[in-house]
Amino acid sequence: MSQLQAYIKDLGWIGPELVLAATALVVLLVELYRRGRKSGWSLGLALVITLAAGFGLSWLGRTFSAALGRPVDLRLDVAVLGLVYVLVTMGDLWFKGDKWDRLVPGLVVLAGTLLAGYYAVGLMSALSADPKGTSVFGLQLVDSYSVYFKLLALVSLLVVTLFTMNYRDLKRGFGEYYLCLVGAHLGIMFLVSSNHLLLIYLGLETLSLSSYLLAGFRKEDPRSAEAAVKYVIYGGVASAIMLFGFSLIFGLGGSLDLVEIGRHLAGTAQGSNRVLVGLGMACTLGGLSYKIAAVPFHFWCPDVYEGAPTPVTTFLAVASKAAGFAVIVRIVAVLGQGPGWLEKVTSLMAVASALSMTYGNLGALHQTNVKRLLAYSSIAHVGYILMAVAALFGAATAGEGGTFHVDPRAAESILYYLGAYMIMNLGAFGAVIYIAKSAGSEDMDDWWGLGWKLPVVSGVLVIFLLSLTGIPPTVGFYGKWLLFRTAIAGGFLWLAVLAAVNTVFSLFYYFKVAKVLFLKPAEESRGVTVRPAAVMAVVLVALGLLTLFFGVLPSALESLAGASAAAL
């Protein structure tokens, strides 16, 4: 009995994940029902299962608030939201037609995401008292660090779903698409909260396998197929290498638990098995670097970003990358704490940082396909963030027992930048979807003068580009400011200077886009034939306002990032 109680309590802590999993199942069921339209019994089955999901959700709300104890009582809220969720799902079952085929699964995912986000926010506030949180099932860490990343993932899922609902190039298989998308985010959520090698591997594979499928989702488009194959091949190799690293680290660190591994490995830098440990660390970090597309594991990135459907690219560039960073930071924090390993791990990161930012910027300079340009830009941004990962231990001074501790300010700057990066990249990719649809092309050369035809979206795109460059008053500027500060305070002045030089370079290609949009009069532009739905523009404007808001008043996001970093 007590096992069952403990089990239910643990379930409460992973509420957001459960909601997402339920959403995935509901999407699948709804899709199945819609495929075999006429059959009455399948409607009945779908209704029953949806209702069950709804009751399950409100039950979850109860266990959830029980698990949290005092701070929040979500029972009623969750019940109401669960009801809305059920109504959305059931209501949509009645609508028929191609338009609804596109809309329905998206709406279900939106509802589920909002509900999961509500859980996550509740968790966040419950954790404000004790950021270290708790360990559930003995494997998962529910601390404010992981919940921060879960929130990022949910925001990304929300926006990507909205983008997908307005992405006309995706013609069928919506149910499968959303199942993969939700599955990928589910993988992220498990990944970011794992403190255990097996969970990291499982979460990563859930994320990766879903991403491979998503990248190739537009079957009729050979470019999408090519993207998928490149992604799956490089991804498979990278995850195998990472796993081999895991196997060595497990054996030599004597545990599957990251914290224990760190403790064991701290003193091995001088021992006889340092070569093997080093090989394990190199394989682990190298395999993980693939996920964030850091040089030299970036080969897949431009091709995949260009070929994949744009909403998927958005997801890969934003949520997938943030998850990669979440786990890399956790692992670096563990592997770098040993006195002899600190310099090795951090200098590895510093070199990857320098290479990534330089390579990304040089590669972006001559691109004309905007998605490809943003791909290279994202490699450059990985470089900027890695700069702070290299300085993760600050001006390291050994604590008790000769081990080093993470500088919370450095971790905070990484978390803040990832949030900033997410906002501005969601916006940038969304604007690209919008403008590319209107222009009928992703190539900049077809965009001349379009800014005058689409002033709102082009205007906010300029804001996102400013933010990506790092010009105030935008969220990107403040994020970069934090990273620079971290790098300089951590003794990586040369990296900061290199990043500064790179920033100036990056202006050139970011503003190539702005130039194309506005520096030719409207008369010289290609006509706008299609105009995407207005909701898309609304989302983009909202993201643009967020970019400016967090640029002028960064403290709001910063305090959240700071509180989350405290858990590390």
Binding site: E226, V229, S239, L243, G307, N369
Partner: protein, 104 residues
């Protein structure tokens, strides 16, 4: 006297190396996948051998880790082959340099 742990690790290392060599030297998507499987098997040998040496709760953990690896490897192979065959339908080749619509 049983076989020392180091021999198992050595075997794993050999499989890892051969797998890597297959990946970098054979330019064929299916070969790449085979190389990946070799690396995964090397990792699995490590997991089991180390788990046995560590004792305690780890024998079970090592076993379970390896089982998951096998299951996921199968899933990954299925996905990869689905995609590779799909690409073959578009490009008529299974060499990785042949799909090249996406520019340099």
């Amino acid at each position: 006297m049983t076989v020392p742990l180091v021999w198992y690790v050595f075997l794993a290392l050999i499989l890892f190396t051969i797998g890597l060599v297959v990946i970098v030297s054979r330019h064929n998507l299916i070969y790449t996948l085979m190389g990946v499987e070799l690396i995964l098997n090397g990792a699995n040998i490590n997991f089991i051998a180390f788990a046995r040496a560590l004792g305690g709760k780890y024998p079970i953990a090592g076993n379970i880790f390896s089982i998951f690896v096998i299951v996921l490897a199968a899933a990954e192979a299925a996905v990869a082959l689905a995609i590779v065959l799909h690409v073959f339908g578009h490009f008529g080749s299974v060499r990785p340099e042949d799909p090249n619509m996406l520019r340099e």
